[in-house]
Amino acid sequence: MEDVGSIVAFWVLSVVTVGAALMVVAVRNLIHAVLFLILSFIGVAGLYITLSADFVAITQILIYAGAISVLILFAVMLTPRAARDNAETFLQLPGLVLAALVGVTVGAIALVTDWNEATRGPFSETAAAIGEALLDKYVLPFEIASVILLAAMVGAIVLVRED
């Protein structure tokens, strides 16, 4: 990825993604935090596109920005106004230290390790290949995932039933 367009795209999208994630931490209003979270999801979808993962990028928007964030917004709305602040517990400082340590460790490993990089082909369409892999090589995980989804759906309905 040497051309100007993808470099600019990468930096803009990274700044948007990380900036929005930081705002999730910083803002005091939980609804604003969810909105910034959605922005972060969309930024990650953009990063997928710079990695020529078209199918995953669209899926990211569909599931994360369209479904999960709407679920979260719904949950926030169904709880009262007093529960809508985004404050920290007394574990703020230990959490900060631990998160920083993990981030530094992962980042250092990522920088130090000599990744065995393969030659990058041109952009290829992944949707058909993913479909074939899902129903061929990964058919058992695929079925298990559908069972998990069904179980989660039944579980969620049973949990929130009023009777």
Binding site: S14, A21, L30, V44, I68, L98, V106, G107, L111, E117
Partner: protein, 104 residues
């Protein structure tokens, strides 16, 4: 100046640590869920970056993995939010500092 694998890994690492901090330190149950979703996203980004830079171009295993993670994340979000609703209904709060039934 070009964009390499390490750039994507750094973005993933930063995103992961932000998500970890949110999951560890937020007082609101929904906020913790948001942190977990951020961590999922960071890991997905790393997987796709490896799929692009390390594995051969014909191999889409990384993408398939991300599709599975997204699926499980959706299931997890639905369940976690249902739990938050139930906790709110029973305890009138989703502040995890005050949910200490099993503490001692």
């Amino acid at each position: 100046m070009s964009v390499e694998l390490s750039h994507y890994l750094m973005v993933g690492a930063i995103l992961f640590s932000i998500g970890l901090y949110v999951a560890l330190a937020k007082r609101n149950a929904v906020g913790i869920l948001m942190g977990i979703e951020l961590m999922f996203n960071a890991v997905n980004l790393t997987l796709i970056a490896f799929s692009r830079f390390v594995s051969p171009p014909t191999d889409v295993s990384g993408h398939v993995f991300v599709v599975f993670v997204i699926t499980v994340a959706a299931a997890e979000a639905a369940l976690a939010l249902a739990l938050a609703m139930v906790i709110y209904r029973n305890r009138e709060t989703i502040d995890i500092d005050k949910i200490n039934l099993m503490r001692w």
